[in-house]
Symmetry: C2
Subunit: 204 residues, 2 copies
DNA sequence: TTCTAAAATTGAGTCAATTCTGTTTTTGTG
DNA sequence: CACAAAAACAGAATTGACTCAATTTTAGAA
């Protein structure tokens, strides 16, 4: 069943994503016209809508790649965390934050976040929620790991704590991408300061 | 200077907001056409754009009213908080959450949040950020109050804690409005569970 | 009251996302 | 190698937010 049709399909998907990614970077999300993406990818406008439900879903495909990379990078930290609760958290969240602007500009993040709240039931909306859940799970996994290592009290409510830490980081990140002049270093400092309160509370 | 012109202006503002609020409720934000809002308000499309920069700003005006009411209601709690850290927090956040769907449907919240991240520099984008800040400040004020009452340790980093609590609640609220079937009672329970960790850490 | 400049209103026109319908390409079968 | 059905494509048509040049209304001076 991997006939001509399937190959052409995969190829067109790739061409559309590549054209869109380039244009989003150059012209911004709003500035990138579907017509232009279509021309660049050498397909028609109608075809793009055959592959993606709407403009947001194209961006969504790009965002998903980015976040999956971050999740992968995070696995290493969970497997081998620094032997100190504060550093462990800082390292994991640091990976999320430092990677974040690798492929995606702040404007692209803003658009992606906006679409995911605007259309939570669209393919991308659901995917984005799933990605958030995966990040939350990874933070929870780190906490479980730290508990196993005897660095975090056993009687701490791990799931609730993981969600709390993720939610705070995520909200800080949203505010960060909303302000074009905001710097990553300051974002990390602010989150560290907030987490210090938690670290003090959960350490053995 | 409160001549005819000023009165007509105020009256048109009111008519536009009323027409929009009704339509947003009935047809949803996306479903409400500017043309229809204009007809209902008995002004032309152009006039609406003379009063508001874009469709989002009309929704913004409605959201601002709602949040300002919530801020007012919160003042009472800050002035006279329950004599127990957990209850004090729960009461204040409870007011925010319980009021939230008074005038605004979940869809309207989703749109408002989306617009505020999409266009952070538009009038509404800036207003929304200011409202978030005001809520954060109010939570911080509660913490300061509880510290003054000797219910919260003096050496706790109040500003960071207030932001942490607000960010977590806000993110939980965002997830809540994204799921049409989510219930307020469950949202509050989940937030209480998260805050329990903090309450344990900051109580005297 | 009459007139003029400033302020506000109007609605037809523009622009870009999305939809729709007819056409072309691919596939599998006889 | 035909051929019919299914899948995918193309691009013109639609839709709805937003703009703008022309017109109308108001304020205040003479």
């Amino acid at each position: 069943m991997s006939g001509l049709r399937a190959r052409q399909k995969a190829d067109r998907h790739r061409r559309i994503i590549e054209a869109a990614a380039a244009l989003f970077r150059d012209a911004g999300y709003e500035g990138a016209k579907i017509e232009t993406i279509a021309a660049q990818a050498e397909v028609s406008v109608g075809t793009i809508y055959n592959y993606y439900q709407n403009k947001g879903d194209i961006l969504g495909a790009i965002v998903s790649m980015e976040v999956n990379e971050v999740l992968n990078a995070g696995r290493g930290v969970v497997a081998n965390p620094p032997a100190n609760v504060g550093d462990a958290l800082d390292t994991l969240l640091g990976i999320y934050i430092e990677h974040s602007l690798h492929y995606l500009s702040k404007e692209m993040w803003r658009q992606a976040m906006a679409i995911s709240t605007q259309l939570p039931d669209s393919p991308f909306g659901q995917a984005y929620t799933a990605l958030d859940s995966a990040l939350t799970e990874q933070i929870r996994a780190l906490i479980t790991r730290l508990q196993a290592l005897g660095l975090v009290r056993r009687d701490i409510d791990g799931p609730a704590l993981g969600e709390l830490i993720f939610n705070n980081m995520n909200m800080m990140f949203i505010e960060f991408v909303k302000r074009e002049e905001a710097r990553i270093a300051e974002l990390r400092t602010a989150i560290r300061r907030q987490n210090r309160i938690l670290v003090a509370a959960i350490g053995v």
